[in-house]
């Protein structure tokens, strides 16, 4: 008797939770810009644990490396001294190149691109649990002045944009995420294209798929691709990557290509967030 009753309530529980899930799906299908109080409560439990696990992991790896390498430090030190000399010399040459680069950039009219905007560094403290999406969580949020649709960079290149902000964390959708599209153009010829994330290319090498290149476009292997002026989330002129392969599709009248991002997505640990929203007033992706 008791057994029967408990199985009945279990079924009721299953049905009501199923309905709840569907309701949640319907309400969060379009946008998830605002974070509900329940999500905030979760984040206050999970994010500190994540931070702890991360710093403990870093500490552990540090210790292990230290023990492993303690004998090699002397030879390493000597080698490094030599390298420093070499690098000092290289640095002078690079400094000269940089001046030249600045000049060329201003010629390309890109100099007010993204160097001047206020940026903040953030650490990645969690990645999407599965293999299907490339979404990650960084350790700064509303409290540090971040907002939805802010642009995320790493080093020289584009990583993605913030899709959701909590009090102490923010979710970043990277450009290699399968559902992500970025309007882009070739830096050399200004031919427009769309950079898509593609899971089948991401798994082994973290490459992107470039689509909708015009048939007449003069894109060649080795061209650098930057964000275009058409994108309403990203400012113009952020470097995305380099073209490594081009295919002609005769029947579609467009070319497709494979792009190697400048950012190493496989070993991404720290990112820079531009603390300014570029999105236009009108809605639409």
């Amino acid at each position: 008797m008791k057994n029967r009753r408990s199985s009945l309530t279990l079924k009721h529980g299953l049905i009501s939770l199923t309905v709840l899930c569907f309701v949640l799906m319907v309400f969060t299908w379009e946008t998830r810009d605002s974070v509900s109080p329940i999500e905030k409560t979760f984040s206050y439990v999970i994010i500190p644990v994540n931070n702890g696990v991360n710093s403990f992991g870093d500490w552990l790896v540090d210790r292990i490396q230290f023990m492993k390498n303690i004998n090699e430090f002397e030879t390493l030190n000597e080698n490094l001294q030599q390298e420093v000399e070499q690098l000092r010399y290289d640095n002078i040459i690079l400094e000269q190149s940089r001046v030249e680069l600045d000049r060329l950039r201003s010629l390309y009219d890109l100099d007010q691109m993204y160097a001047d905007f206020p940026k903040t560094g953030a650490q990645i403290i969690g990645k999407d649990p599965g293999n299907w999406y490339d979404i990650f969580v960084i350790n700064k949020g509303e409290n540090d002045g971040l907002a939805v649709n802010m642009v995320v960079l790493a080093g020289e290149g584009l990583v993605g944009h913030i899709t959701e902000v909590g009090p102490n964390y923010a979710k970043v959708q990277s450009i290699i995420n399968d559902s992500n599209h970025v309007s882009a153009k070739s830096i050399r010829t200004s031919d427009l294209c769309i950079v898509n994330g593609d899971l089948t290319m991401v798994v082994s090498q973290a490459y992107c798929f470039v689509d909708k290149i015009s048939d007449q476009a003069n894109i060649i292997v080795g061209d650098d691709i930057i964000t275009s002026h058409l994108s309403d989330i990203y400012p113009e002129g952020i470097l995305i990557g380099t073209i490594t392969e081009i295919t002609d599709n005769d029947h579609k009248m467009t070319k497709t290509a494979v792009l190697k991002p400048v950012v190493d997505f496989m070993h991404l640990e720290e990112v820079l967030v531009i603390k300014q929203v570029f999105q236009l007033e009108s809605e639409g992706d």
Partner: protein, 172 residues
């Protein structure tokens, strides 16, 4: 009481470890699915109710922190827990064969359903996705689950021992 605390801790640790530690030991950018292992293990060891609750809790946390919208993973994991819970009385807890097969099949099923959400966006090359994502994940998960199931079995035995000890003390 102790069981509730233990399960809550396991859920929190699962979410944290899956997004940090497990990512660090990925093979060719493929990670195994700790959530599925946890849900199926507890569903098989403890029955439908616990499977359903743990599945829903892990799913909703997955959705909150990483999902594109809320509800998909909660629904998926909840049903995985519920369905696996049906078999909790029909096998020996100490034998590894059945749990491992159940974990592999559950992971395969979950991935196939997630692939359907990809179909909505016109990603129709099923075979390619199967080779590059689904198959490696299922293999990796199955391999890892052997150790983790044993660990959960150990914890469950301790908890059951504690429950029995408490029950006998209350009777006196």
């Amino acid at each position: 009481m102790l069981r509730t605390i233990a399960i809550t801790l396991i859920i929190i640790l699962n979410v944290s470890l899956q997004s940090t530690f497990v990512q660090a030991i990925s093979i060719y950018n493929i990670v195994f699915n700790l959530f599925i292992i946890t849900i199926v293990s507890f569903a098989l060891l403890r029955g439908q109710k616990e499977g359903l609750i743990i599945g829903f809790a892990l799913g909703i946390l997955h959705d909150v922190f990483f999902g594109e919208f809320i509800g998909l993973y909660a629904l998926l994991y909840m049903y995985i827990g519920f369905i696996n819970g049906m078999f909790s009385k029909s096998f020996f807890k100490e034998s590894l064969f059945f749990p491992i097969i159940a974990i592999a099949l559950s992971d395969l099923g979950a991935n196939l359903i997630i692939y359907i959400t990809f179909l909505f966006r016109g990603r129709t090359q099923f075979f390619l996705y199967f080779i590059t994502t689904i198959l490696p994940e299922v293999s990796y998960t199955t391999l890892v689950s052997i150790g983790i199931y044993r660990f959960y079995l150990f914890i469950n035995n301790k908890l059951e021992y504690y429950d029995r000890w408490k029950g006998s003390r209350n009777k006196l």
